[in-house]
């Protein structure tokens, strides 16, 4: 009985396109709805651009995010014109709304930031760190996820612009060669883990 249940679960995960670490590249992400910093409900389908969306997990305190903030804004500006809209997500259970708002205002994010209370979206996607990115095409299919580039200290020496490379290949109708790049970043503070402490 237990074995049948296990097999059923495994089959269900594969058919749903969910890997052990979240959504797999090539699988579609279901439309979701989360409140923005003003409390208004927003959906992926409403926020995405004509060519897709970039979901980026943010933090108000993570030094890696802080090092990337300007670059994220630049990417948002560069690709909004090409049909890819950036959607910021804050999933950290340790960061309250005011903190997130103040940080966003300080940085001047040029895209909406949604609040993922209880890490629902982070769990669904399998997001583990900030600033982890998920690039979805127009049909919400995951094209690329992971690192933005190989310059997490913002020294101005990017030699591997992983995300821009993926964007440009996809927009040109070419194959995205590197679909997943792990990176060092701050762990997303899960509500369950905080509650267990």
């Amino acid at each position: 009985m237990k074995r049948s249940l296990f097999l059923f679960t495994v089959i269900l995960m594969f058919t749903a396109g969910i890997s052990a670490q979240g959504v797999a590249v090539g699988s579609a992400v279901e439309n979701f709805s989360l409140p923005d910093m003003g409390g208004k409900s927003q959906t992926l389908n409403d926020l995405k651009g004509s060519k897709g969306a970039l979901i980026v997990f943010l933090s108000a305190q993570c030094p890696t995010v802080k090092a990337y903030n300007d670059k994220i804004n630049l990417i948002a500006a560069d690709y909004a014109a090409k049909g890819i809209n950036v959607i910021g997500i804050n999933s950290n259970a340790t960061e309250d709304l005011n903190w997130v708002k103040n940080h966003a205002a300080e940085v001047g994010y040029k895209f909406p930031v949604l609040i993922d209370k209880g890490n629902v979206l982070a769990d669904k996607l399998g997001a583990g760190f900030t600033p982890e990115v998920y690039f979805l095409d127009a049909k919400n299919v995951l094209v690329y996820h992971g690192a933005i580039d190989n310059d997490r200290f913002n020294r101005g020496n990017v030699t591997e612009p992983y995300l821009r490379t993926a964007f440009d290949a996809q927009l040109a109708g070419k194959k995205v060669e590197r679909t997943s790049v792990p990176a060092f970043g701050c762990d997303i503070k899960r509500a369950k883990a905080i509650a267990a402490q």
């Binding site: 690192a147 190989n150 030699t159 591997e160 970043g185 762990d187 503070k189």
Partner: protein, 187 residues
């Protein structure tokens, strides 16, 4: 006479002050030197260095990947320091920092000093961190902390991505310790 006595007293007082302040200054200099020398050495390694580092050298090896900006890393560090002391000579403990290489002489050794860590300390500096992450473990996505315990033969005995749990890590450390040789029986 009184004047002569006062002069003698002043000379004596000045001499005492010179000696005392001199000693104080020397003591401060020694303390400063001590503080400087007390900062633990942190060795910069590239991906080749990391490849060598994750190979045990005759003993089981525990490697902890961490950063000063990582809350759970800082929280678990005292436990690692304690365990490293307890298993000293039987299991090698090393730490690999993922801090900014610019902090190799400041934030990183200062934290290690505060923790009284005597574990050999390294800092990874590579332009391709994704390759380093994949080399360490195909299941690792780069989140910190990561603790890996290798058996003496190099096999991964335990991997924890997240803060270690004391009882669990102790049980795993005990498992990789070389088994005591059976006592010889005299027939």
């Amino acid at each position: 006479m009184n004047r002569a006595l006062r002069m003698a007293a002043n000379v004596a007082l000045s001499a005492i002050l010179v000696v005392v302040t001199g000693h104080a200054a020397s003591a401060q200099a020694v303390a400063d030197q001590g503080n400087q020398t007390a900062l633990p050495a942190v060795t910069r390694i590239d991906i080749g260095g990391l490849r060598k580092l994750i190979k045990p050298d005759g003993k089981p090896l525990l490697i902890n990947f961490w950063a000063t900006w990582c809350d759970p890393c800082r929280e678990e560090f005292p436990d690692l320091v304690k365990l490293a002391a307890e298993y000293s000579g039987r299991i090698d403990f090393v730490t690999v920092s993922l801090d900014d290489p610019a902090d190799i002489g400041t934030l990183v050794p200062k934290f290690l000093s505060q923790m009284k860590s005597e574990m050999p300390a390294y800092l990874l500096d590579t332009p391709d961190e994704s390759a380093a992450i994949r080399m360490v473990s195909k299941d690792w996505r780069g989140t910190l902390p990561l603790t890996i315990l290798y058996a003496a033969d190099g096999e991964t005995a335990y991997l924890r991505n997240g803060k270690i749990k004391h009882e669990t890590i102790v049980a795993e450390l005990e498992k990789v310790l070389p088994k005591a040789l059976p006592a010889k029986t005299i027939e």
